[in-house]
Symmetry: C2
Subunit: 334 residues, 2 copies
Amino acid sequence: MTVRARPDPAGQVSLSDIQLPVRASLARVGEEMWRIVAVDSALLNGVSEHLMLMKGKMLRPTLLLLSSEADGAAQPRAAAYAGVVELIHLATLVHDDAVDHSVLRRGMPTINALFTHQVAVIAGDFLYSRAVQELVRLGDLEALRVFAKASNELTIGEMRQLSALDALRFSEEDYEFLIRAKTAALFSAACEVGGLCGAERFRVELAEYGSYLGMAFQVVDDLLDYTGASATVGKPTGLDLKEHKVTLPLIAALRTMPPASRAAVDDLFSSPEPDDAQIARVVGIVEEEGGLDYARERGEGYASRADEVLSRLPESPARRALQDTLTYVMERRA
Amino acid sequence: MTVRARPDPAGQVSLSDIQLPVRASLARVGEEMWRIVAVDSALLNGVSEHLMLMKGKMLRPTLLLLSSEADGAAQPRAAAYAGVVELIHLATLVHDDAVDHSVLRRGMPTINALFTHQVAVIAGDFLYSRAVQELVRLGDLEALRVFAKASNELTIGEMRQLSALDALRFSEEDYEFLIRAKTAALFSAACEVGGLCGAERFRVELAEYGSYLGMAFQVVDDLLDYTGASATVGKPTGLDLKEHKVTLPLIAALRTMPPASRAAVDDLFSSPEPDDAQIARVVGIVEEEGGLDYARERGEGYASRADEVLSRLPESPARRALQDTLTYVMERRA
């Protein structure tokens, strides 16, 4: 990676470093989100309140706002679009958790756990249609085009994952398709729509940057499932393996695995509820076979391509923050 | 009601009578729907195939097409919009069935029964985002505005239903709010968007007609749950009562019910799984108390208001068919 020298002597880029150039706009995004979801329904307001409390890193709004300033001043309405992208993201999280019967997200109860499964499905639909309504209000067919395409890709990716009959035959190509659809599509849409709000001539570059960044982000996310500690990631290590989800570290490790190790992996994947010992064993095997290193390299490769794309943009505080985002994503531990 | 003399001497208006003026366009709607949902995913194609097989009466596309011809020739692209409204409707049915854990719809297995709950939630999201993409392709912000509003109202209605703490305190006003959101909103949107495709100066009237028609439709639907036979409605009589859903016949009957009858109703609503005898008893009580007659009158009232709105439109085969639709909806037995 050709990422520039890090701003912090400890070698860490923090979220607030990245958010610095758009801090004022970002502070308005929460209000915009509340405005968009305002409704006369105690239950829906309860759902929204809980979602606002579990508010994450606001990474997609940050990307949208930074992208909007990549060619000088952005339009003030960028904050509304930033609210829209976070609402679309929340809608997908709420449905994901409902579909997976997850009970925790970012250390807090999910909507399906706190309310019911029914509430979660309907609330996701509510959030998504409100996001569409806001884009209509803004009169922006292009942004609608970009976001609707990303949302649709996401469902196709999820469906592809559900229909994988033999998890262990999931190829690297399948994995790339999946993370492009599940993660990179919305990152890319956030950056592209940001471009539409102030850096239109770099729309294509920003979309491409967002896509590579999203790929890197998801690879690191999948790596953290192997290496992260429960407290920082907010979910137990090895959860993907427990749920028989095959990600890049395992795909890479399977290629060179000796028969005894492969037998341990097969064992885990034929256990309906793998125990901790099985998971620890497979995590060890994946590391031994270089699966973690391989995935790390692939992640770095995506980040590096994202960085190359950025070099086509003019120098600006926003561009520097987008570069720092690559470092942040690659270094994150949670 | 001031509905004109019926075209059939037996006093029946059939679906094909109504569809006659738009038969050619309607024949293209299926193709349009296939075009819109085309995707490289065996699982999603499987879902779409099943939904096309269980294709219902195509009432919303019919209304859209008839509305589009209410002021002379319609735009040829009306068929694409008709496909969109049916896809939005299917998306909501798929989520409804998933949320209610229903196993049958129109006598066929639901998507959640045939595939899984997960598949149903994701498939609904897929269908909805494809519908949005199609409206973007058509470059039609106004249609997007109308459909997104209707979709959002629907979720608010469903949420209101879920949050009703004491079913038996559900008022007629609550019921009107619910059926407006759950049914009338999309009927109205279908007619309004039809108007946008060829009868723009009657846009408001068509929206209003669709809303009253939708109210009448839902009142009759709820009546059929009390009066219909299992074979024709495709679901057992008394299902709403079994699920503790309070609709207009019961709301009306509760007003005059003597204590012994009220005790039987309370009994049913405090039984987690009411048996057939309990249901039959309450159906009998509701009839005795005039609940069915009251609901019937209210339904006729909505149909009559819809008919009045139509009288503001110029005479045409489409207007006649929209009038006949009122008769069809009020007379239907399934």
